[in-house]
């Protein structure tokens, strides 16, 4: 198939705004009469609140409102388990608990007012270890729940694991642990809330879920006694998402209440400190995994038991086991699977979605354990993976219907480029190679009642196209990919397609930018809407050119007869002809696309995604046995993407994912000490800079997914999924030590080397 615009390296549509400083982020929003909100957080990770005195703060000149829990309706809670009051009135459960909030005519005055609020606490014993919180004698953190174990029975059983374990020729068992890491969006969180004279709310927001946030804020307004109101979400340019904005946060409800009290726009923008301690990181996990294979290396079973530190409240982090099930059941062919996960309340920070949504934690355990199994069975790790690689047409134990699958090609390509057979196991100058693969949703993910996205298209008198999409652009390039898809279908230049994606008053519904779904779902939605408008357009052009509709073609904004190219008309002129006439019309079309995927049933089975993305990463490392430092010499990332709509942006997604993954594997960690974050700033929490980026070779495998727009599958998250195990496996190949606890710091490598030498 040949394309005019699909597959081209087209710069991102918002690029001119971003390079000139014209792009407006949340902190750049200024409204007349705007006030500034600040939040007072708990001093202790676990305490009763005996008394709050806000009188001094209220008297400070410039302060316009001070609110505490008593200003919210008594039973108002947020989060999908409804266990989080936006302001805490009787008890605090973590150091990020919000106790009071202030708004004032300047941020400085608001800050000063916070210092004038006095809170009396009765300090309680904190619980910071999920294993301790699970004990019968542990104090209960949420009395109304009655247990520290969340009522989320994550359990997937396929086949007979016990029987398979007995019959396996080789069995390995390991325990892996992962750390808290945080999104570190360069722009901090924030919002501006204001009510108009009719008590309708407008929120300037960074959200990744405009339609769901709209719904949640409407619920809040109802709870505040404002029934049947409207909520409008206007997304500003979003300075990084990575999953961090997939839920609504207490600060947003605080801004809403402050705006309601003052009748003024109220802005809350986090400081970098707040961004670290008061937003929700990737959850840490304890994973016990056992896998087995027969004499020929065919996997027989996989058994995984996981404990997740939920923190003090519940956000989407608690649902990541629904995604962890995917690689556990369906990465490589494994007939018998058992997975259980337990989420436990502690007095730590509560967790959220982050790129990969549980998949990196699960894949670290699976792929590290697979190398262990390779060693145990004496089979080369490459061969073990090829023997068990998924194939197109397969139905996995969890019920995933694999359509396209380029996993084998990915593994082969990575091994070739790493020079696997030459380098594996040679231990040359403490160098080693490792590989790891991934499966991820690539055709949306039905985690909500709808996985849909709407599109409205209109064409104007000048031949230009406006596309109103539900999709959100968080920098990944949704605007550009959607423009390319529409331009390709309509035969107009990509510059002539304007994509509007930031206002719930004019854009249709979408479930949100998550699950690597935007290119697939919003792309299909745009494509089908474009097909509808094209059908109308061809009918009109057929009349104007006096040829049958099937003889009309459009290229570069000009319509012509295929059989007689002399007959042609610019689109703009055709559109004006049908507009400016008695009984005239304008071209518009809409489409709501909801993919053919399934919610998981009560047994957690079902075809979660309409297509699956596969990939393999390979890495060559050099380990310094004096210091324990790991240096990445070569990194190959092969991904089955269906089709590359825009290789420039696609590379951006893969590079970004891989490099975040390397940080996850080697350096990033939020250090909590008894509930207090110790490294919550950019000096002590290290993300990779240009000095730390190793050479990364990207391999694009195109499998042309029939259900995807022009064959494309999702690629937003896969880049960071197999990074940590690929590196861990390479370190083992280099120096013979397996690090089972992320991040793999030089200290851990050195300690393991010392122990190995002792042994």
């Amino acid at each position: 198939m040949s394309f005019n615009i699909i597959g081209k390296k087209i710069p991102k549509k918002d690029a001119p705004f971003k390079v000139t400083g014209q792009a407006l982020y949340i902190d750049d929003v200024e409204l007349p009469g705007m006030l500034y909100g600040k939040i007072l957080y708990s001093k202790y990770p676990h305490a009763r609140i005996l008394h709050i005195d806000t009188s001094k703060a209220e008297k400070l000149p410039g302060v316009k409102a001070v609110i505490t829990a008593k200003d919210f309706p008594p039973h108002f809670r947020i989060g999908f388990m409804k266990d989080n009051p936006p302001l805490k009135g009787t008890k605090v459960l973590s150091t990020r608990d919000e106790i009071a909030a202030v708004c004032a005519i300047s941020p400085e005055i608001a800050e000063e007012a916070l210092d004038l609020i006095s809170v009396e606490y009765e300090v309680l014993q904190g619980i910071f270890d999920p294993l301790v919180a699970m004990r019968e004698d542990a104090p209960i953190l949420h009395e109304e729940v009655g247990s520290n174990i969340l009522k989320l029975p994550w359990r997937l059983v396929c086949g007979d694991v016990e029987k398979a374990k007995k019959e396996s020729a080789y069995v390995v068992e390991d325990t892996f642990t992962t750390q808290w890491v945080t999104h570190c969006c360069l722009a901090t969180s924030g919002c501006v809330a204001y009510f108009d004279v009719n008590n309708n709310l407008t929120m300037y927001s960074n959200t990744q879920i405009p339609s769901l946030a709209q719904n949640e804020f409407l619920e809040a307004l109802t709870a505040l006694g404002l029934r049947n109101r409207r909520v409008r979400i206007i997304q500003v340019t979003i300075g990084g998402g990575f999953g961090s904005k997939l839920d609504t946060y207490p600060y947003e409800y605080i801004a809403i209440l402050l705006a309601l009290k003052t009748r003024k726009p109220v802005k809350i923008v986090f400081s970098r400190d707040e961004e670290f301690f008061a937003t929700s990181p990737r959850q840490c996990t304890i994973t016990k995994i056992s896998q087995g294979c027969d004499r020929d290396g065919r996997l027989t079973f996989r058994e995984v038991e996981m404990i997740l530190d939920n923190g003090a409240y519940t956000s989407w982090g608690a649902t990541t086991p629904s995604v962890m099930m995917m690689p556990i059941s369906s990465l490589y062919r494994v007939p018998n699977v058992k997975y259980t996960a337990t989420c436990v309340y502690t007095n730590n920070t509560y967790c959220q979605a982050m790129r990969g949504y549980g998949n990196p934690q699960a894949t670290f355990a699976i792929e590290s354990s697979l190398d262990h199994l390779a060693e145990e069975s004496g089979i080369d790790p490459y061969d073990l993976r090829i023997i068990n690689a998924n194939e197109p047409g397969e139905i996995t134990p969890q019920g995933f219907r694999v359509t396209t699958c380029g996993l084998k090609e990915c593994i082969e390509e990575v091994a070739k480029r790493l020079n696997w057979k030459e380098k594996r196991g040679r231990g040359l100058k403490k160098r080693g190679v490792g590989i790891a693969s991934l499966i991820h949703v690539g055709g949306g993910a039905r985690v909500y009642k709808s996985d849909g996205c709407g599109t409205i298209i209109k064409m104007d008198d000048f031949g230009k196209v406006d596309v109103f999409t539900g999709a959100s652009d968080i920098g990944q390039g949704a605007d550009t990919v959607i423009a390319q898809i529409v331009a390709e279908e309509l035969g107009v230049p990509v510059e002539d397609v304007n994509v509007i994606h930031n206002d719930t008053d004019i854009c249709p519904w979408d479930v949100g930018v998550h699950a690597s779904r935007t290119t697939f779902v919003a792309g299909n939605s745009a494509l089908f809407a474009a097909k509808k408008i094209k059908k109308k357009l061809l009918e009109i052009l057929s009349k104007l050119l006096e040829v049958p509709p099937e003889d009309v073609a459009i290229k570069n904004g000009i319509a012509f007869s295929k059989s007689d190219p002399q007959k042609s008309i610019p689109l703009a002129r055709a559109l004006r002809r049908i507009h400016f006439t008695t009984g005239g019309s304008m071209l518009m079309a809409e489409h709501f696309y909801d993919p053919q995927n399934e919610n998981l049933n009560k047994e957690f089975r079902g075809n979660l995604s309409a297509a699956y993305a596969y990939g393999t990463h390979g890495v060559e490392v050099e380990v310094d046995t004096e210091t324990g430092k790991v240096k990445i010499l070569k990194y190959v990332a092969a991904h089955d993407v269906g089709r590359a709509i825009n290789p420039l942006l696609l590379e951006g997604q893969i590079y970004g994912g891989v490099l975040q993954g390397i940080g996850y594997a080697l350096s990033e960690k939020m250090i909590y000490d008894n509930g207090y974050l110790k490294n919550g700033n950019f000096l002590d929490y290290k993300i990779l800079t240009v000095r730390d980026v190793p050479p990364v070779e990207i391999v694009i495998i195109e499998t042309n997914e029939e259900a995807g727009p022009f064959g494309a599958k999702g690629i937003g998250e896969p880049g960071l999924v197999p990074t940590a195990p690929a590196i861990a496996n390479a370190i083992y190949d280099a120096v013979g030590v397996r690090i089972r606890d992320l991040p793999i710091t030089p200290e851990k490598v050195l300690k393991a080397l010392k122990e190995k030498n002792k042994g």
Partner: protein
């Protein structure tokens, strides 16, 4: 470069900044407080919101502007220290009359050297200082100039490509 320096004294209550070629006289205690950072003044007082605040403690580089042609973290610079200085922000590097972008900006567009773009103005300002008047810039120089800039989308590869492209074009045109 022409900068008019005001006589300063202990009682001086006014400072003069030249920002993107335009003179601003600011009264200390009214327009500017002694504790205001340059970031704050540029963004909140003078409306140059292209300068971004990523951390406000000198770690991320997003707030980088040029003072007397040198890249400086404006979040760690007090405005009152800048009396008489010439400052350039991201809004000031194109051609003000034609609106033509700086070659760096053009290259950043062509290579889409960002995703979310929040770190981009700061990165471009550091690179601007590196390239201007410097005929022989090596990859190590570029990495040095960028080492103080965080980018969480991790667009470093695309940034390197964009800068190299500018250098290459400059070499071909024989211009600095």
């Amino acid at each position: 470069m022409e900068t008019k320096v005001q006589a300063k004294g202990a009682l001086s209550s006014s400072i003069r900044l030249k920002v993107n070629g335009k003179i601003y006289d600011l009264t200390v205690g009214k327009d500017v407080q002694p504790w205001h950072t340059l970031t704050h003044t540029l963004r909140e007082k003078l409306g140059f919101t292209g300068t971004k605040v990523g951390c406000d403690h000198g770690a991320c580089g997003a707030c980088t502007v040029l003072i007397e042609e040198k890249p400086v973290l404006s979040c760690l610079t007090l405005t009152v220290e800048c009396d008489g200085k010439s400052i350039v922000t991201i809004e000031g590097i194109g051609d003000p009359t034609s609106g033509r972008l700086d070659p760096l900006q053009e290259a950043f567009i062509e290579h889409t050297a960002f995703q979310c773009g929040f770190c981009t103005p700061g990165i471009i300002m550091s690179l601007k200082a590196l390239l201007d008047g410097n005929p022989s810039v090596t990859e190590e120089d570029i990495k040095d100039a960028l080492s103080g800039h965080y980018c969480r989308c991790i667009s470093h590869y695309h940034v390197l490509r964009a800068v190299k492209d500018v250098i290459e074009k400059r070499r071909r045109n024989g211009s600095l």
